[in-house]
Symmetry: D2
Subunit: 263 residues, 4 copies
Amino acid sequence: MSATIEAGDLVLIYLDEKRQFLVQTTLHLKISTDHGDLDLSTIIGKPFGFIGKTHLGKEFYCLKPSTADVMFKVKRMTTVIYPKDLGYLLLETAVGPGSQVIEVGTGSGVLTLALAKFVVPNGIVYSYERRREFIDNAKKNIERAGYTDRVQFHCSDVTHDGFVQKDVDAVFIDVAEPWEVIPKAVAALKGGHHVVSWSPNVEQVKRTVTVLKEHNFIRIRVSEILERELLVRQQGIRPRERGITFTAYLIRAQKVLENPHKE
Amino acid sequence: MSATIEAGDLVLIYLDEKRQFLVQTTLHLKISTDHGDLDLSTIIGKPFGFIGKTHLGKEFYCLKPSTADVMFKVKRMTTVIYPKDLGYLLLETAVGPGSQVIEVGTGSGVLTLALAKFVVPNGIVYSYERRREFIDNAKKNIERAGYTDRVQFHCSDVTHDGFVQKDVDAVFIDVAEPWEVIPKAVAALKGGHHVVSWSPNVEQVKRTVTVLKEHNFIRIRVSEILERELLVRQQGIRPRERGITFTAYLIRAQKVLENPHKE
Amino acid sequence: MSATIEAGDLVLIYLDEKRQFLVQTTLHLKISTDHGDLDLSTIIGKPFGFIGKTHLGKEFYCLKPSTADVMFKVKRMTTVIYPKDLGYLLLETAVGPGSQVIEVGTGSGVLTLALAKFVVPNGIVYSYERRREFIDNAKKNIERAGYTDRVQFHCSDVTHDGFVQKDVDAVFIDVAEPWEVIPKAVAALKGGHHVVSWSPNVEQVKRTVTVLKEHNFIRIRVSEILERELLVRQQGIRPRERGITFTAYLIRAQKVLENPHKE
Amino acid sequence: MSATIEAGDLVLIYLDEKRQFLVQTTLHLKISTDHGDLDLSTIIGKPFGFIGKTHLGKEFYCLKPSTADVMFKVKRMTTVIYPKDLGYLLLETAVGPGSQVIEVGTGSGVLTLALAKFVVPNGIVYSYERRREFIDNAKKNIERAGYTDRVQFHCSDVTHDGFVQKDVDAVFIDVAEPWEVIPKAVAALKGGHHVVSWSPNVEQVKRTVTVLKEHNFIRIRVSEILERELLVRQQGIRPRERGITFTAYLIRAQKVLENPHKE
């Protein structure tokens, strides 16, 4: 990987904390900000870390976007999973290079994109979604990030039709009623491997856990992840005073070959 | 990837919440528990998810270990980064398949191992450590997990000697005095890319941030990540009542080519 | 109030963080610790803040106990409300000097004692409990703290028998099934005033809230309170790493004269 | 205490979660809302809990304000302590009916008011403030709440002039530089009793703790209190998603008669 910005690269243009833009050098020709315009063609061939100036003389910085930056700045049609939650769930599964992963609920394709990145070189994300227009939007986000060959979309209702694949390494469920998907997920998932799901309401969690127990899942665990920023400023260090206090309950479980919850 | 347990595979043997063992099928012949012994040779060739019995008749489950399981259950000589923190930091950088990553402070090799997994197929983790015996232990942990060809160890004092590499994609600093490493890190890191560090004490954070500002770093941010389990039981749902309330402050920053903090 | 320790005073004897004893100077003659014995008669007549020595020469400090100290160190037969939770609930009601307060579930009398303190000089806590032996123990705790004339105990089952009082200023419910008490509480409570309750399980909260809505309560709110210590030490400042992560959900609501949740 | 609303009573007029008004029946003649006007003279003589209607037919509820309501809804000239923090600190001291309490930094008089309530019948709050206009505003807030005879104001700079009182039961410090007040506080406070202070920045905490150690204080502890609402709704139960994530570090310590931190 070169450290030079090339045509097509995703770049985080950073003026200050309130002015950050994720751009793709071939798609955007010019960005207009209240601190002046900046011509993206001028940064091609420059190294990452380059400091440019807007036509009003304000400095901007050409930064490498993190995975979280790419996740947060795609075109969204739905609420999306937070990086703090996905980072946790990723490590709570065995997903990595080469993994075959099913995702239920493509949504904006944010999770699709992040999973696709981590299954390179030869893994695949099978992404299921009922609504065709969501797949169309997600495809653009995936293409922009360069992971088109790592994703297969399926426009279908898995609650009724189930999954085409067998023996996948993980199933990520991001729909409002995860319990309707689990009976199908159990057939598609390798033994001993992970299903993950997340929901904001306690009632959803309860129902999901109940159905997981009915379908041979074990080591069922539920957590929430909280992030709090520490502000390190000249005038003093202290935690940020307002922010996100909850996103979702994160559920994960592992399939075994017979039901361990019998009595 | 097969779903059948083969010789050399890491397997999580799960009896119940208090009896979980990460084993490697060639290394361990037998596990003795207070619920009976289990012979590991009997699970080779079985599918993941298999349910066996100890010689006392207690069922055990052969589960696929998550990345977090592998991190938590290596032989440790030091405190190690928590999965909740690493998952967050991983997504806060651009690290992924193919990345060249420097790690300072091999310690027990837990972070080394997790980074190595995510830079497969052709990335490399350059792991620096002053103490030879720590490298020796970490090598065993890396070998056991199967990532030997993704890691290069350097036994040296980077504070004085700096790094051999140039243009790496990220630098992960896990030492008590990160500020001593940063002046060298800036030379080894690609422009626009990420340095990350974590420390338990506020004074360490303050000093690290100060030195980051002196060495051309921008978008410096500090956070803490909290995890709380939600217990979903027959008798009622509620958060866990005791647990970990703090691990470390997580710092990340990006290098630019000139110092943006001049005045 | 004198600053001199008198016979009968509650004193917090503090040797160090792990050796703290709440004593009453007439009741305890001698305390034996692994750092030596101390004779309580020697501190009578001394000022609060006095520094004494055990027979082995270890210093001890005679401190004024806080309300929280007194709450935490009574003889307990049950789990008790935490000061962090009671402090919050106290301010979320109008309870203060002169208030008439009903408490349901005397338990160990810890809440009784704290409420009694804050209704001095002429308020009363009416404390209901089904189990005679709990009242007997609580009476001793109340007497020791000096609030006997601020408390009236009732040994009865309020679910069936209801309350003797009318027009009290607040009702504090500390039983496992608060929803069984609410229909009776509504008759005993002044209009516009507060009922409070706390429960560890989400299902309990849901049921309590449902019954509150059925019985003319409005402004129903549920919160949890978390406390985290910041350790300020020579070697660095940081939050405590392990501790209490949950105690209870705190519910409060106010009665109105007709049901506002009709239709 | 009567349950009937009388002239001069503080009443919380509640239309819905977004429309709540703390009023005093003699001061406000009419409230205008976007749901219609309401004439306060019509509620005098009605019981608390009364349900009235605006001239547009919207129902409003006449509720008893909690101590927290009164604290939050005074006329403020400064940031004020949160009820969650004060409730905790109140129980971490011995303050109650009859206490003599010094407050440094009257500010808007919110803390003054809350302390005054809890020292009734014969306690006193001695409130120190340098800025005359703050005392003038605070006096109105205290008078409105009916605690004028429980508060003595001192317009002076305690850093230089110290305190008039001796042997008070507690000192509450709410200024930006608590460490400048502590050397004077030690002289005014009873032995064994509590000083409390709160600050948002870690540096302030460190300096305060250092000075407390130099002035014979022991059992120095620092905590933060977090509150999170649980939303109990028809469509599901879950924690509130955005809110306050930090207010202040709460410090408390107790004075002893000689310095225990010598050498």
